[in-house]
Symmetry: C2
Subunit: 222 residues, 2 copies
């Protein structure tokens, strides 16, 4: 079928042009700094709500890109988000992604303390990778744990706070965004209910592609 | 923090009750057969559009559940979707999920024929697992490949067609849904642009939980 012979890069370019066109039609003008991140999330979800939901601390994108260029580890709260992160992109940066959710010691810590595995996994991340990019697409308890660690002095390279859900989720994202602004920690957060592992991975990938020089900044379609 | 001590099962029950309440407020009455699938997708995305987008061939849910109860393999088009499928649920069913996207022979076939890896991966799936549940959350070319295989006689246990995107995506889903109806193959499809690996995994999980008896059918909150 001829459809199968279209190059993936061309499909992505066409998609980004459609997204840019529809944002314009909706009267939404994205700042050039954050546009590549917002557009990649819309590309991943086909949901233009993210043009309004996504909030960034000042220079969050620049700081995230510099951290990844410098080899910062990405910690995700689910193996699903980790599976969505571009392996070729990370390899180009000599980067690394990790997820501690399925670790036996994390399950044990969670059981002992009566917390969630997501919270115990983020505690482990804070201990092993204190300067990491922390990407949370699922568990609000992971964000509350990061907030606790930040109160105790943790300074991640970037917090990506995009869990999805109906209970404690919007609150967890407001809490972490406020705290990140206070403490001067870069953050990208999807306010409200929406988000997910795919959104977390898409934000990581946008930053990875920028850090790896895989997006041409002169190409206005991104 | 007290928030961390809420049991995950309670959070899920509360979420499903909120979703049911909002569906009612919107005047949307889901058929009991498909409600657990639609609600789980909304739970995964916080996007009520899926109450309108998701379409099912007659008895698709029942046939999918019976196939999984009988040990049907789940083939996904991305490792991300596969990572989102419930491992405890699959274990309870003695089931198995596979993804061929990263296989060396698939890359070689795609290169030789000038097709996508997603299409080559689905061709391999049709060969190795002709009676599988095929779950496509990313690549429209995977759906076009399944359509070609079905024209040549393939009869999957169920086709889950929920790729996301702006180019060829809506068309691929209309094509597969029409063909599945014609050929009597059960299908769940998200019409339009929306979908994704998380949506594909959520649909698999709803069916797995039903097949494994992990959802109480008398519990109207699901």
């Amino acid at each position: 079928m001829s459809r199968e012979h279209v190059r993936p890069a061309d499909i992505e370019r066409s998609s980004m042009q459609i997204i840019s066109g529809e944002l314009e039609q909706r009267g939404i003008l994205l700042p050039p700094e954050t546009a590549p991140v917002v557009k990649r999330v819309i590309h991943t979800t086909a949901d233009f709500d993210y043009a309004e939901n996504l909030v960034f601390t000042p220079d969050a994108v620049g700081q995230g890109v510099r951290a990844l260029s410098g080899g910062a580890v990405i910690v995700t709260d689910t193996n699903m988000a980790r599976a969505g992160i571009s392996r070729p992109g990370l390899e180009k940066l000599h980067g690394q992604s990790v997820c501690f959710m399925a670790d036996a010691d994390v399950a044990e810590t969670a059981r002992r303390r009566g917390t969630t595995r997501a919270a115990a996994a983020m505690e482990k991340a804070a201990r092993l990778h204190p300067g990491a990019v922390l990407a949370v697409g699922n568990a609000p308890t992971a964000l509350f744990q990061i907030a606790e660690q930040m109160e105790a002095g943790l300074r991640p390279a970037l917090v990506i706070g995009v869990p999805v859900g109906f209970v404690n989720v919007a609150e967890s994202k407001e809490t972490i965004f406020r705290l990140c602004r206070e403490k001067g920690v870069p953050a990208v957060v999807a306010l409200g209910r929406k988000g997910g592992s795919g959104v977390a991975a898409a934000i990581c990938n946008a930053l990875i592609y920028m850090a790896a020089g895989l997006l041409d900044p002169a190409d206005r379609s991104w």
